[in-house]
Subunit: 393 residues, 2 copies
DNA sequence: TTGTAAGCGTTATCAA
DNA sequence: TTGATAACGCTTACAA
C-alpha cells in the first residue's frame, strides 16, 4: 500500500496502521476502494459515468484518507490553476493609508473561498510592471484570470489581457462618459446563462470562443458626484472645489466631467465650481487646500477624492484658523474609520467596498465557467451626512 | 492556426516563422535547437551536464521563443510551487485603516519578485480559519512556505506548520519575555551558510532534515517601549497610560510587560503607569480615552498602540476641550500619513515596515534553499518627535 | 458502468 | 556530454 515513490526505498517504513506523511493521491483511493483511477476522478468531480454506489464508496475513502486535489497536477492536465490574480500598481509612498483596498480584497476572498480558488496578489510600482506581471503569469500559467483595479481612461491593460486570452474583470470602468442614462447596462440583457454546465463544456467554451472574456463592474461616479453637489447646492454653496485624484484614472476623469456637467445644469460659474488634480497623497491634498484657502476668494466647500486628503484638508483649515464647517464645508469621497474619528466627523460618500469586491470575484468565476461577459453596476453609494458640512457662510 | 486542442494532433502546424499562440514548451525548444528535452532542462536550470556551446544555443532559442517555465509542471515534478502564502486573520471591521499591512506586503514583494516567487494572499475572519487555510494549502501543495503575522503568546500555528512540514517565517515573535539582553540572537551564530549550493542539495536538506524549518524576525518592542517611556519621563510625565491592542497578541503582551518593567526601574507607581487593552479599533481607542479623561486624576500622557487609536484619542481630547499637547501628551506606535496629517502632528514610533517585510521574505527564501533557521532582529524603531508631546503640565 | 492508457510540461535517472 | 525514459497526480478519450 501507498508505495510508489520512484527511488529504491524513499517511502520509509511500511507501517500499515500509521500512514506515512505523504499526501494521498487518487491512485491511493482507487487501490483502497478497488476501482480504477478514472472512476475516482469521475466520482470526485461529480461527473457521470460511475454508479451511485461506487461514487459513494469512493467519496467515503477519499474522506477517510483526507484527500485533497493536488493543485499542480490539476493545473497541468489542462484544468484551471485555481488561482486568480490581482496586481496593485502604486508607487510605494501612495500605499500609506488605503482602507479601500483591504476592504475590496476581503470582499473578493468571500466569493473565492467557496470555490477553492486562491488569490495571487502582487504590489508593483507602476503600470509597466503591472503589465509585465500579467505576461509572466500568463507564460507561467499561474492564473486563470485577473481582476484589474484602477482602470484608466487610456488603458493598455484590456487589450493586453485580451491578447493573452486571460479572462478579466475590470473593477471600475474604463469609460469616461457621464451620460450614464443612455448606456445603462447594455450587455446586462445577455446575462441569461445562469449555470452553463460548469464543467468541461463551460471551460471549453471559454478557452475556444472569444479572445478573452472581459466583464466590467462599474460604479456610477456621475450620480454620486451629482448627489454631493446637489447636497452642497441646497446648503447654499456656490463656490465648490473638487480636489481630485490622479488625472489618468478613469474614475477621476468621470468625476471631473460629472462635476462640470452638474455645475452647468445648476447654472453655476465654471470658474467657481472646478476640479484640481493631485496624486491622492495627504501632502498634495494639504498643499491644494493651502493654496485654495490663501486665494482672494476661497471656496465655501471642498470635495476630496479620498479620506486621507479630506483629513489633511481639515488639518490645514484648522491650522489657518478656518472653522469647519462654519466657514468651510468638507466632503470625503469614500468612508473609513478616519472620517468618523476626526474632529469634526466628516460627511462622506459611503460605498460597500467589500460588496464591490465580492461582485467582481463572482463575475470572474462566472466568466471562468463560460458565462457571457457583461457590464454590471455596483450598488449606488450614498452620502452619509456628518458634522463637516453645513450652510454656506 | 492556434490549434493545440488536446485532440488527435496536439502539436499543431509546424510553422517556423509565425509561432502559434501556444505557450512554448521545453520540447519546442529542444526540437528547434536539435537537442533532447533533458539537455534543455539542464541548460535552462544552470546545471552542468551540457556543453557551453549547447547551453548558449539553447538559451538563445528559449529567448527567441519567449519561453517561461510552466509553474504547474515545475510544481508537479517535485520542485517548488513557486508560491509562498500569507494569511491575514482579522475580523472584517478591523481591516479599516491598516497602513502597516500594505507596507509589509510591498516589502515582501520586493524580495520575492527577484526570485520569480508569487504571493498567495488570504484574508480570513479568525485564527481557526487561518489554520484551516494552512492545511488546505498544504494538502493542495499550493505553497512552498508561509509567512505568519500577528504572532500570539499562546500560538497554535508554529506547531501546526511544523507538523505540516511547511517552512515558516514568523513576522514578530511569539515570546513575551522582556529580558531582551540575555537572549539576543542565540541562533544568529548558526547563520553561516551563505549560499548552500542552492539547487538539489539545499532542497533535499530542507525536505529531509527537520520537521519544518521555522525562523523568526523579531522587533525589540521592549527597547522601543523604553525609549517612549524615557522620553516622557524626561519631559516630567509621571502618570502615563498605555492604550494597548489585543491582549492575546505577543507584541501587545511584550509591550505591556516592558511598560511595567520600565516603570519599576524608574520608580514610578504601578497604579499611575499602566496598560489598558483594546481591539485596536478607533472606537475602543476613543472609548478608553474618554474613560481616562473623565477619571478624577487623568494621565498626563497616553501611548497608543497604533496610529488610528491615537488619532481617535486626539479627537476625543479636542472634543472635551483638553488641549494636546499642553494638557495631554500623545504618542502613536507606528507612523503613517495619518500622524503627519492631523493637528497637532503626532509624535510617533517610526519603523521600517517595508524593510521588515523584505527581511522576512528573504529569510523564507533562504529557508527554502536549505539555510538553517534563525532568529533575526529587525532594525530598531525610533521615536519621531513631533507636536503632540511636551512637558508635563 | 468500468478500466486502460495517453498526455499535460517539467525534472531526474540511467544508459549510450 | 548527451539522449531516451520514467516519474509527478490528474483529466480524459477510448476500449472493454
Amino acid at each position: 500500500m501507498t508505495t510508489g515513490t520512484p527511488t529504491a526505498n524513499a517511502d520509509g517504513p511500511r507501517l500499515p496502521t500509521a500512514p506515512p506523511r505523504r499526501r494521498p493521491t487518487m491512485k491511493d483511493i482507487a487501490e483502497r476502494a478497488g476501482v480504477s483511477p478514472s472512476a475516482v476522478s469521475f466520482a470526485l468531480n461529480d461527473r457521470d459515468g460511475v454508479s451511485p454506489a461506487t461514487r459513494a464508496r469512493i467519496r467515503e475513502v477519499a474522506e477517510e484518507l483526507g484527500w485533497q486535489p493536488n493543485s499542480a497536477a490539476r493545473a497541468l492536465s489542462g484544468e484551471r490553476s485555481g488561482c486568480i490574480g490581482l496586481v496593485l500598481a502604486r508607487p510605494a509612498h501612495t500605499l500609506g493609508v488605503e482602507s479601500f483596498f483591504l476592504q475590496l480584497v476581503s470582499g473578493i476572498q468571500e466569493a473565492l473561498s467557496a470555490h477553492r480558488t486562491a488569490l495571487l496578489f502582487q504590489v508593483v510600482e507602476d503600470l509597466a510592471a503591472e503589465c509585465a506581471t500579467y505576461r509572466r503569469w500568463w507564460a507561467e500559467r499561474r492564473v486563470d484570470g485577473v481582476l484589474v483595479v484602477d482602470p484608466r481612461t487610456h488603458d493598455p491593460r484590456p487589450a493586453l489581457l485580451a491578447s493573452l486570452a486571460l479572462p478579466t474583470v475590470i473593477i471600475g470602468d474604463t469609460r469616461t462618459s457621464t451620460t450614464s442614462e443612455t448606456d445603462l447596462e447594455p450587455a446586462e440583457t445577455t446575462a441569461t446563462a445562469d449555470e452553463p454546465s460548469r464543467t468541461s463544456a463551460g471551460a471549453t467554451a471559454a478557452s475556444v470562443s472569444a479572445p478573452a472574456p472581459l466583464s466590467t463592474i462599474w460604479a456610477d461616479d456621475a450620480a454620486a458626484m451629482r448627489s454631493i453637489i446637489d447636497h452642497l447646492y441646497e446648503l447654499g454653496h456656490r463656490h465648490i472645489v473638487h480636489i481630485a485624484g490622479l488625472p489618468g484614472l478613469a474614475h477621476t476623469d468621470r468625476r471631473v466631467a460629472a462635476l462640470r456637467a452638474e455645475a452647468a445644469r445648476l447654472g453655476l460659474d465654471p470658474a467657481d465650481v472646478r476640479s484640481v488634480s493631485t496624486d491622492y497623497s495627504d501632502e498634495q491634498g494639504a498643499e491644494a487646500t493651502r493654496r485654495l484657502l490663501a486665494a482672494p476668494r476661497p471656496p465655501t466647500a471642498i470635495v476630496y477624492d479620498n479620506d486621507v486628503m479630506a483629513v489633511a484638508g481639515v488639518a490645514v483649515a484648522a491650522g489657518r484658523g478656518v472653522p469647519v464647517p462654519a466657514a468651510l464645508s468638507i466632503v470625503a469621497w469614500d468612508d473609513s474609520p478616519l472620517c468618523r474619528v476626526t474632529h469634526p466627523r466628516l460627511t462622506s460618500l459611503v460605498r460597500d467596498t467589500a460588496g464591490f469586491g465580492r461582485l467582481a470575484a463572482q463575475e470572474l468565476l462566472s466568466l471562468l465557467d463560460g458565462a457571457p461577459t457583461r457590464r454590471l453596476q455596483a450598488e449606488l453609494p450614498h452620502l452619509e451626512l456628518r458634522d463637516s458640512t453645513t450652510h454656506a457662510p
